[in-house]
Amino acid sequence: MEKVKKLLKARELTSLVFLIALFVIVGAMNPMFLDPSNVSACFNSSVVYTLVAVGMAFVLFIGEIDVSVGANLGLTAAVVGTMLRDGQSLVLAIIVAIVIGIVIGLINGWGVCVMGAPSLIFTLGVNGILRGLIYLYTNGAWVENLPKSFKDFASVNLIGSVSVYYCCIIALVIVIHLVLTRTRQGRYFVAVGDNAQGATLVGLPTFKTKMLAYVICAVMASIGGVIFCSRIGFVTPMSGNGYEMKAIAACVLGGISLAGGVGSVIGSAIGAVIMSSISYLLVFMGFSSNYDNAITGIILLVIVVIDAVIQHRSLVKNKHDRLLARVSQDAPAPSVQAEKGGEA
């Protein structure tokens, strides 16, 4: 019973409930949607978003932000795309992608952690530079005709109609979640975001943790770029445009606070599925496409508002319950009770 209660309290669960509710509502509007292949398609199509959102989660944990992930993804996709198109090996391409991610992560980390620049501005600047570099690198042209085998890999299914990529992502998210919650170092991310000064004071490697968060975020986006190439098969210079905002929204949908210190990667992964499946769901809802943006906005607003109200209510209620319990005569002892001293 206790366990169930605790599980119900888990923040990710509300996001999952929202996701399921969304599926059920769409299913009610159009029963065709309830086919498992559709549901798994929603998950499959969220792979890139999930990667970016999970990476973003790290940066949000530490209480910072990274709005350069979109351009990072685009740049990596362009570089990897050209390499593969020109017949380089996949392994080399992936290594290059990771290197790009690490470099960008280190630059962001340097600006924010070493130089102390506000993260929003700094990464905004980096975003502009990277976006410009994409044009410079590709001359504005598209990268097309990626090798078929590489593209085909995206449509290989592993379990039922769930793609290999998504299975890998699930595994990755679970591993990251376990590392974050079960290991000492894993907790450092949220701790640093919760109270950086306090973290330093108890000897946590604040600087390293922050740098690491930025590097992880950037590398995830870069890997997202590789998978983008594989899934989509062509790279436009606009690839990844606006992903940063969607990733942030996904994280918030999943219960991560922009103030830092709160949330889990599972939440952000679920949020990413919500964000990316909206355009899939809209097709099944059957509304005129003129409503697309309005409905997307409404879904987003409704979820975050309801969620925030619920969270706030429960916080207030907890506090009130505790306070009322103190006053009532035969209530259990207050949580802090000084043992009676001899003097009394």
Binding site: C113, G116, F122, G125, V126, G132, N290, A294, V305
Partner: protein, 346 residues
Amino acid sequence: MDKVKKLLSRGQASWNLILIALLVLEFVIFGAANPKFLRPQLLFTAVNDNLAVFMLALFVTLVMCTGGIDIQVASLVGLTSIIIGVAWQDFGFSIWGACALATVVVCLCGALSGFFIAYCRVQAMVITLGGSFLYSGLALLVSTLSSTASYESISGFPDDFKFIANYQVGGVIPFQILIYAAMLVVAFILLHKTKYGRKIILTGVNQSAAEYSGIHTRRVIMSTYVLSALAAAIAGIVLTAYLGTAKSDLGGDLTMDIITAVVLGGTLSTGGKGSVIGTALASLAIALLRFGLPLCFKIGTQYLDIPVGILLVAVIVGRSAATNTGIVPWLRSLFARKGSSKASAQ
């Protein structure tokens, strides 16, 4: 060097000086490279073309001072524009009536988002992201009410409407720049000279403490979103007049430019500090950079993101390196210590 450091750490006034220095530098370099740059006519053109960003950034500054962010204003510009067009063309409103209607609707939109942020305590970035979808979607829906297809723009506005954007006072100064100047003054007085502005700032520093000081912080927060929506309405009207067409996606891509101008102007993205003058100077500096680089150095317009990004990064890093207050520099001092303790050991 030490003097520069001290100056930099002296807060907003000195920051404004830096921005002015940046502007002067731009004038000198661009002017030297291509004297055409210094023609007032051209400079006004550069400003005119960015005026929507200028106007919006002013009031987004207020929002960011409360610790929020507003990424929906850009979509409200489009909503304003299309409401004006549809109301005027299809519903028989007078052009000014249509403007009034658009202003009211857009302010309500701002109020709605502000309400969610202030009273439901949802993070501003997400609410306004949702808002930007919702309001651009609304704009599209409004456009379907018109006999003109959504993909075509509504044009043919009366001359006295286009006047607000195209009339040139004394034959040189575009009237819309005067509108901007008026907004600048209003925003400046609001933020820096009134009790309301003080409330905005204090709310941004510490909302709880502001509550204990008797400030209705939620009202204050919500009102800033209404104000920025109002600015979006004005910008939408001016832009519609300037382009002579109403379309639902007008101005939809200004968000990043606005945020860039505000933060470069010295407003803390965490709230509690900000400057309208700084925002104005920063937006001008960026506009001139974007105008001057292609003009004087033949840099392709599609690559302009790079120099603007570099400017942003360089300026911000320079500033952070020079000031030493706050948590982050404190953290930084931890890592810079190695050197200093070595020095002291000698």
